[in-house]
């Protein structure tokens, strides 16, 4: 018996070792290194292992860093709101109103995720440029005379691209939660003479909140960590988000300790946000549709993780 049992046990161990090793080597250790680096000191441009709090002092003492973090959070908040406004009605339609070709429509929403981020960002350049498709159309129908410069290389272009890219991420968890609401609950509400609006307000909406929280967390964390949209579509008011700052500190400035400190602050913000989101889900997630959708734990890595 034991001869047959032990290989199985080894197999199980091996099975567990893979994900644990993966998480340890690719997630925990790098974060640990990052955390340690934020306390190291740079002497004459060389990294030393002397411990210091200088990096955090400089981070909070120089307007550039907190301001850029706040600016990025502002962009992310607006992107989140816009994504939610687009994703919720769409998810609602998909879950309750569409009968035929439901899967086809769901795929239509998801398929853009398969197209490279860069391709989608470049597509916006073609659409929004001064000699682009949109300006050309607006001028040909006589709405504007001169091309609108504000469409491209501006804060709006950055936000538009981020909303386009992260709306499917918001939609998926909301759709999953809405789909799980048993039709019986809505029927019961109608039987009790609730109007459509009342049913939505008192039954559907509360039950869908965990999905809303998860979706919003996705959109916020991913767009806050984005650094490609500002480079490709940002103009003189929007070329620098916090991740561009981190890229600059780790790259051209060769100040890893300060870069690590900025990253740790970002990571702390992300983790706080995820914890809050989880608390909210716990509170709202008790009903029959209370399938808990764990927020993305890799969120802090943003696009970089996908491009690495």
């Amino acid at each position: 018996m034991s001869a047959t049992r032990s290989p199985r046990r080894y197999g199980r161990l091996l099975f567990a070792a893979l994900p644990i090793g993966w998480v340890t080597v690719l997630l925990l250790l790098p974060y640990l290194f990052l955390f340690a680096h934020s306390f190291f000191r740079l002497v004459d441009g060389q990294l030393t292992h002397q411990l210091t709090l200088e990096n955090y002092g400089r981070l909070f003492g120089t307007a550039l860093y907190p301001n850029t973090i706040l600016f990025s959070a502002g962009i992310a908040a607006r992107v989140t709101l816009a994504s939610l406004c687009l994703a919720y009605p769409l998810a609602y339609l998909l879950a309750f109103k569409v009968r035929r070709h439901k899967n086809l429509l769901y795929m239509a929403v998801i398929i853009p995720l398969w197209v490279s981020y860069l391709v989608r960002a470049y597509a916006w350049k073609i659409i929004l440029g001064q000699e682009g498709v949109l300006n050309g159309f607006l001028m040909s129908v006589g709405i504007i005379r001169e091309p609108l410069a504000v469409l491209l290389y501006s804060k709006w272009a950055v936000m538009l691209a981020l909303v386009h890219i992260y709306t499917p991420f918001t939609l998926m968890p909301i759709y999953a939660v809405l789909e799980a609401i048993p039709p019986a609950l809505k029927e019961a509400s109608t039987d009790l003479y609730a109007s459509r609006w009342q049913t939505f307000r008192h039954v559907v909406l509360p039950l869908s909140l965990p999905g809303v929280v998860a979706g919003c967390t996705f959109a916020f964390v991913l767009s806050m960590g984005d650094f490609i949209a500002p480079i490709l579509l940002g103009g003189n008011d929007s070329a620098l988000m916090v991740s561009n700052l981190v890229v600059s500190l780790f790259g051209v400035a060769f100040n890893w300790p300060l870069g690590a400190a900025v990253s740790v602050v970002m990571l702390t913000m992300t983790v706080t946000l995820l914890t809050m989101a989880r608390k909210l889900e716990d509170r709202w997630g008790g009903g029959p549709a209370g399938r808990r959708l764990d927020a993305p734990t890799t969120g802090g890595m943003g696009r970089g993780a996908l491009h690495a």
């Binding site: 790098p30 440029g129 000699e131 480079i231 620098l240 981190v246 900025v262």
Partner: protein, 390 residues
Amino acid sequence: MQSSLFVRATVLAALGTLSACGGDKGGAAAHGPATKISIQATSDAGADAATYLKQLCPKPLGGELNFMVWEGYTDTLFTKPFEQACGVKVNATYMGSSDDLVAKLRAGGAETIDLVSPSSDAITQIIDAGLAQALDLARIPSYGDLMASFRDLSMARREGSVYGLPWAFGPNPLIYDTTKVKPAPTRWADLWDPKYRGKLSMQDDIATLWMAAQTLGFDQAADRAHLYNLSDEELGAVKTKALALKPNIRKYWATAGDMTQLFQSGEIVAGEGWPLMTAQLRAAGFPAGEIIPEEGTTAWADHWVLTKGARNLDAAYAWLEYAAQPFTQKLMADVTNYIVANPTAKRYMSPDQVATQRDIADYGTKVNFWQWSPRRERYTEIWNEVKAAK
């Protein structure tokens, strides 16, 4: 993303260690001096390169060479014939900026990359940090054919050793659309004119701060290093000047392709760029004009540098000797429009192209070659502040 950079750096470092353990195929065995190959020159640079390479590599050397270079320096036009004749696979990565190159080399890249093409600023830092190896000039017999004023530049020398093979140099000119900018600009200061609102592009780099400093008259002919070591007070003035230019900036460019695309799609009419862009734009039929403004401009001088960890030395020295040849440099000039280090390259050029070639000595005090400075990180922070300002 914060961690992914870190992961990347760690992986790079790990790979560096692995490849260092992996043994070297090229062989670091001692080699005697190479003899200079002379060929019967024709007027066709490509044909001469082929003839030359047959003699340079009578049999394939094998192995690979990893380059980290500026865009355009490993164009297939002259890299492919070398790869085929010498049986060496060239893997090239582009660098985004001088600091980018230094950071990559420091983060373990000096072990995985064989040859780099640093500009006049980064080369000092690379030599000082011990990331380069001195060149064995006996193995590059054509070194003496290169422009004397270029070989004399102090940044590629240290304690009697030569670390860099002169390759190309060029100023950062003001490039403009000749159909839209009339009369032609003569000074950087012209760019602050409100008529250029939203019509310019500047490099996403501290080079733009240097340009602003030159406009303010902070570049002193007697002390070229001053531009790179401005006091906090002077930097404050530079920042204010750079901020005043913001309304005129449509987008900051990151790559040569960025800038040419901005011109071609009608987004901008002028900006600071590289001669490469003028060449690319003109090749595409775009009416690009180029001037060295009255205030002077910063310039770069690029050398080929062998990294500390370079192992395939036979192939590396074959490349360096090939890189010094007039036909190779003519082919590079075709791609980049840069001023090349071997003046005999003019033999292959049309009169128009010959007109683009100058001797460093001709520029006098008009150009200031980029220098390294301990103040550089402060400049980078100020540049980020300029970008962050709304």
